[in-house]
Symmetry: C2
Subunit: 219 residues, 2 copies
Amino acid sequence: MKLSESEENYIKSIYTLQAKTEKVNTNSLAAYVNTTAASVTDMLKKLKSKKLLEYKRYYGFRLNEAGNKEALKIIRRHRLWEFFLVSKLGMEWDKVHVIAEELEHVSSIDLIKKLDQYLGQPKIDPHGDPIPDEKGDIAELKQVALNNFSLKKNGIVSSVSNQTSEMMKMLNHYGIGIGSQIRILKSFDFDGSLQVKISKQSACVISSGFAQNIFVYDD
Amino acid sequence: MKLSESEENYIKSIYTLQAKTEKVNTNSLAAYVNTTAASVTDMLKKLKSKKLLEYKRYYGFRLNEAGNKEALKIIRRHRLWEFFLVSKLGMEWDKVHVIAEELEHVSSIDLIKKLDQYLGQPKIDPHGDPIPDEKGDIAELKQVALNNFSLKKNGIVSSVSNQTSEMMKMLNHYGIGIGSQIRILKSFDFDGSLQVKISKQSACVISSGFAQNIFVYDD
DNA sequence: TTAAATTTTTAGATTTGTCTAAAATAATTT
DNA sequence: AAATTATTTTAGACAAATCTAAAAATTTAA
């Protein structure tokens, strides 16, 4: 289904809001997309006519099966682009959202498939949110701070909870980035420091405090 | 200046057409952007009011200084994305144009700067067209088939004039892609085959016929 | 259970980009 | 130079997405 940029934005917003409330109401959506209630009503009619929405006037609304599917496609594109912007272009986490809002509307299926492969089929975006797969399935991944991660298991770095330039320098020094593979080889009880292997580099030791800020999930 | 997608498409098209003719005329632009002459006139007025166009009714038109600058920005974005799609995502040359037409309208300056760095500041896109730099300057690069390239000089692969899958396999085998660095170490008079060094790989020998299809420019 | 307040929808206007059909201008031909 | 042809512009209409203001439905309160 071919959707306008505007329709896509509404669908994505409804999807987000209905995660929190059973039925979404007009005013809250209007506030969320920063427009008037009247505009929302107009769009609701349109989305209903496209059979993406369950909607009875005055009674609230919800995306139906088809609508959810569309939402997940858009979210997938958004999060893959965010991952790209951070992991490949080295942009900062707090700056990628706005750009991904634009990129997400480029809808070539082949593009997204190739991008996904290129990025190594990431499961989590730089904000720690899951990236739906091609079918719209969302992996149920528990993210753990690296110092709570199992020994001798491969993990993937999903996010980092400290965006200072000091942290960036450390990450850079160790060659750790979003999507890096990491494995704990040894844990020292004395101060909680960890011997780790990062991707294909030779093993090294990192401090407990550093590890606390690095989030990983099972590979 | 913030421009709509439509305005950007017109500007880009006028830029392209005025490379061939002194003054662009309404009908040819209409044919080029696949619309009516009336729509073109409407847009011309708009671009004139935005001071991007020299335009007198019934007399043809041209982008002015500011208009050309905008055009070059758009073209830069387009060609950088094409380069990305081919060199990083491994898409085929004939398929990237359409996607780049969409990506080019994402206008974050920081994005394009970072993308440019990430790609190694390429000078030529996968179709052999030059990529304007940040200032809008276009490098005057002569591209040469690899077998006509100087000995012991570093070249950058700009394009390949043969898009068969057989060619792709060869390129893949040798690790040659758009943007690869290449240097001729030795040329054998017997059959014109060349000993070359590709990026950081160890030297190897390629056939003259293969080299004829690989275009490079001075690094 | 009415009255008041809130929420949602409708009605009508606006902007952007497009269109068709007709009018105006320029170019070409006789 | 007048008539014909081609090109360009204007005039008016339309669709998408938005807005304001007013009406309708629902909810809350007295």
